[in-house]
């Protein structure tokens, strides 16, 4: 197991450097002069030539790209991701300030996805072609078809405007996290439920389940302790990927619910061509995704010895 983890860790280094290069090039090669955009935002109007030139010099944008990249990579390796062009704050501080909020929301969203998808998917498989299966099919279809922003508005209309139970947006109380997490949860649960159902169907037809039944185990024990446990193995990978996706891609949900996470920070950075923030975000989220994948790989190895052997 130790060698398995070491191999995985060593593999992360070239991937991380690849991500850093991609992050730098993608941001730097997008059209638009960040100096001009920052000044426009700051002044509320177009800057003149001298102001733009002064800002470009101050931001180090007049240096050749390789120089800029090596400078940035050297700093990034020591945890210094530079300062935001947009608000001047250190990028790492901004990400560290915002990431816990995203982590909380995505974590709760994922938990809701699992809480919805796994029981429903399991029941749909057990009662195949019954009413629960039909309901789960409709739920999956609707859940997958409805865009996240639409779900968000529906939830706000229902729980905030009509029932008055929850605030529309914000982040200052525990109530504020419920709607964004549910929005993410619904979006994530549709596909997860279908995977659970198909995995369960496959496992329920296998010999070991028949053996378990013939040993006289109760139906619930066979389903939960044997079939579901095996069906959850491929779900682990999907959950890892979904979680990473939620962390980096909850932009719309964060914007609608004024949730102070990293997604909104990233969108603002893209519009402002805030290179340090874009690059910092990509490298930060890339690192987080690599760590999640590593954890999933290790978890997978622990669950399934065949993975370790390979």
């Amino acid at each position: 197991m130790g060698m398995f983890i070491l191999r995985r860790l060593l593999l992360l280094i070239p991937i991380w450097i690849g991500i850093s290069l991609l992050a730098f090039l993608l941001a730097s090669l997008t059209p638009g002069d960040p100096a001009r955009l920052i000044l426009q935002r700051e002044l509320g109007h177009q800057p003149n030539t001298e102001q733009v030139e002064e800002a470009r010099e101050r931001l180090g944008l007049n240096d050749p790209l390789p120089v800029q990249y090596l400078r940035w990579l050297g700093n990034a390796a020591t945890g210094d991701l530079g300062n935001s062009y947009r608000n001047g704050a250190p990028v790492l501080d901004s990400l560290a300030d915002r990431f816990p909020a995203t982590l909380k929301m995505a974590g709760l969203g994922l938990a809701m996805s699992v809480a919805l998808a796994v029981p429903l998917g399991t029941l749909a498989a057990v009662f195949r072609n019954g009413p629960i299966d039909h309901f789960s099919r409709i739920f999956a279809l609707v859940g997958a078809a409805m865009p996240g922003f639409w779900v968000a508005y529906l939830l706000i209309l229902l729980f905030s405007v009509n029932l008055g139970w929850l605030p529309v947006a914000g982040s200052s109380t525990w109530k504020h996290i419920i709607l964004p997490a549910v929005t993410l949860g619904i979006a994530g649960s549709a596909s997860l439920m279908r995977v659970t159902r198909s995995e369960m169907l496959e496992n329920l037809g296998l010999d070991y389940v028949r053996t378990a039944r013939s040993k006289g185990l109760t139906s619930s024990a066979v389903i939960v302790r044997h079939a579901l446990r095996n069906a959850l193995i491929p779900l682990t990978t999907i959950l890892g990927m979904r979680f990473a996706g939620m962390l980096g891609g909850a932009v719309i949900v964060e914007t609608i619910f004024s949730w102070p996470g990293v997604g909104k920070l990233m969108i603002d950075a893209i519009f402002d061509r805030d290179y340090p923030m874009i690059q910092g975000f990509v490298i930060f989220m890339g690192t987080v995704t690599l760590i999640i994948n590593l954890i999933v790989d290790i978890g997978y190895g622990l669950i399934d010895p065949r993975v370790r052997a390979h």
Binding site: D33, G44, N48, L157, L158, S160, N162, S258, R273
Partner: protein, 528 residues
């Protein structure tokens, strides 16, 4: 009823009704929620938190001006400047402004306001590039405790109109707004939570007219729909920046829609100096015909649901004072547009042609973003087609992409929206349409390279720059605007935009400023 629901008395029937309402978002607009607020604090839903925290930190004063800080002068709703922390001022040749400061004013911590604070603030602006005023490190000289002389590093007779911008708010000596906020304004800070809310309370020691409310909680809602739903749910008493196409829903939900005077614009610029295939704008007949073929009323009604005014200047009409009459109102005359094109040799039943060249133009949509212009490009496309002009629409997702294209001149027509935040009437015309400097950076002079009409317009800008009296500046700016719109036909104004807010029944009155950053919250009054 809403109050009961919020206190938890929800029966099953009510729940089912609510679910049904939620499932028909577009069709059902429940009345605006009753606010639980009973004190004198007003809760306002504003757009996103855009403060900076570096050496240019502007927390509390820009872009959301919370009323904690004040500038030397303030901008009235018709864009004229009025004394605020400056009591009076005079221009001293060749380039100095002597400013007499208000006495008896204190910062919120009790520190007296005097010339030291002004010198510190001007020095801070200078160290950050000097702003549009062109301030240098030695520009501000203290004459006595309540008199300063400010000499910009370059000739600048518009200094007083520029210095009123909230970004130039006066700070006490050594204050870093990233760390604490201590101003002279009618409100003092209670709490600022990044990206969530900003709470201020009334400054009971305020030197001027005190607010009639106890305080304000500004909650940040970046999403305009969520902002509207927050008003509907009763989470806030008022929302700013109501989205133009959905403004009608404010009244449908039983709230009040308030409108400011016009302070922003939407206009189309025609490239004068483009290279093939973007050279057709150099033909005066095409430019004049485009202006005549556009029915602004249709744009206002269809793109903006009546929540705008047909535009006939680019800058807010009020800023031009009496000289606004010098800008002729452009007419809609499709037949005349057609005959001008015919006379210029552009003929044909469908898309016109001249010497085998089809009259096909490319419109770049737009500045700030394509989304800011709604369906305007499509309406323009349909209207110009009536005159035999084919329009291809190119969408640019953000300002950077738009400017990238403008820098290389790839487009015939350029759709823009903008606003005026200071009191200088010549600012936007000068910035966008002055002749480019010889050898200047192409990107920085991109507007001039594409749109500058030349000497005829530059002369007016020179007059506006040299004038000391506001009336003279207004006249020069108005003549310049008229040249752009009605003589050279490089600018086609489309709409004048006013700001809109939605207010619940708690709000009795509010004086809405056309420039959001110059909003004065002291005018807020509550019912009861």
């Amino acid at each position: 009823m809403e109050g009961k629901l919020r206190s938890g008395q929800v029966n099953r029937r009510r729940f089912v009704q609510a679910v049904a309402a939620g499932a028909t978002v577009a069709g059902s607009l429940p009345a605006v929620g009753t606010s639980a607020q009973t004190d004198g604090v007003v809760r306002i839903g504003v757009s996103e938190d855009g403060y900076r925290t570096d050496e240019r930190a502007n927390i509390g004063f820009y872009p959301l001006n919370t009323g904690i800080f004040e500038s030397l002068v303030t901008l009235t709703n018709d864009y004229q400047i009025e004394p605020l922390l400056a009591e009076s001022w005079e221009f001293v040749e060749p380039n100095t402004w002597r400013i007499v400061l208000r006495q008896g004013v204190s910062f919120h911590d009790g520190t007296p306001f005097n010339a030291d604070a002004v010198k510190y603030t001007m020095g801070r602006i200078a160290s950050n590039g000097g702003g549009v005023m062109g301030l240098g490190p030695e520009s501000c000289v203290i004459v006595d405790d309540f008199t300063v002389e400010i000499t910009p590093d370059r000739p600048n007779r518009r200094f007083m109109q520029q210095i009123g911008h909230p970004n130039n708010s006066i700070l006490p000596v050594d204050l870093n707004p990233a760390e604490s906020r201590n101003g002279t304004g009618p409100f003092r800070e209670v709490e600022y939570v990044v990206a969530d809310h900003y709470t201020v309370e009334t400054n009971t020691e305020y030197w001027g007219d005190k607010p009639e409310i106890d305080g304000i909680v500004f909650s940040f809602y970046p999403d305009p729909t969520a902002r509207m739903l927050a008003l509907q749910a009763g989470d806030v008493d008022m929302i700013t920046d109501v989205a133009r196409p959905s403004a009608g829903q404010i009244e449908q939900m039983g709230a009040t829609l308030m409108k400011s005077p016009v302070g922003a614009y939407e206009a189309m610029y025609i490239q004068l100096h483009g290279e093939e295939p973007y050279h057709l704008g150099s033909d005066p007949a095409i430019r004049e015909a485009i202006g005549l073929a556009i029915d602004r009323e249709v744009i206002v009604q269809n793109a903006w649901q009546g929540n705008a005014e047909p535009g006939y200047t680019m800058i807010p009409p009020a800023i031009l004072g009496d000289s606004v009459s010098l800008v002729a109102e452009p007419a809609y005359d499709l037949e005349k547009a057609k005959s001008i094109l015919e006379e210029a040799g552009w003929v044909g039943d469908d898309v016109r042609e001249k010497d085998g060249t089809p009259l096909k133009l490319v419109i770049i949509n737009g500045y700030g973003t394509a989304a800011d212009h709604g369906t305007v490009p499509e309406i323009l496309q349909a209207q110009l087609r009536e005159a035999g002009i084919e329009l291809e629409i190119v969408q640019t997702p953000d300002t950077a992409t738009y400017e990238q294209r403008l820098a290389v001149g790839e487009g015939d027509l350029w759709l823009e929206a903008g606003g005026q935040n200071d009191g200088n009437p010549g600012f936007l015309p000068e910035l966008l349409f002055s002749s480019p400097e010889e050898g200047g950076d192409p990107e920085s002079t991109m507007y001039g390279r594409a749109f500058a009409p030349g000497e005829i317009f530059d002369d007016q800008i020179a007059i506006s720059q040299a004038a000391v009296e506001v009336a003279d500046v207004q006249e020069a700016a108005a003549v310049g605007m008229n040249i752009l719109i009605n003589e050279v036909h490089v600018v086609v104004p489309l709409c004048g935009f006013y700001r809109m807010i939605g207010a619940s029944e708690r709000i009795a009155s509010f004086d809405l400023h056309p420039s959001g950053v110059n909003q004065k919250w002291t005018s807020l009054k509550l019912n009861g």
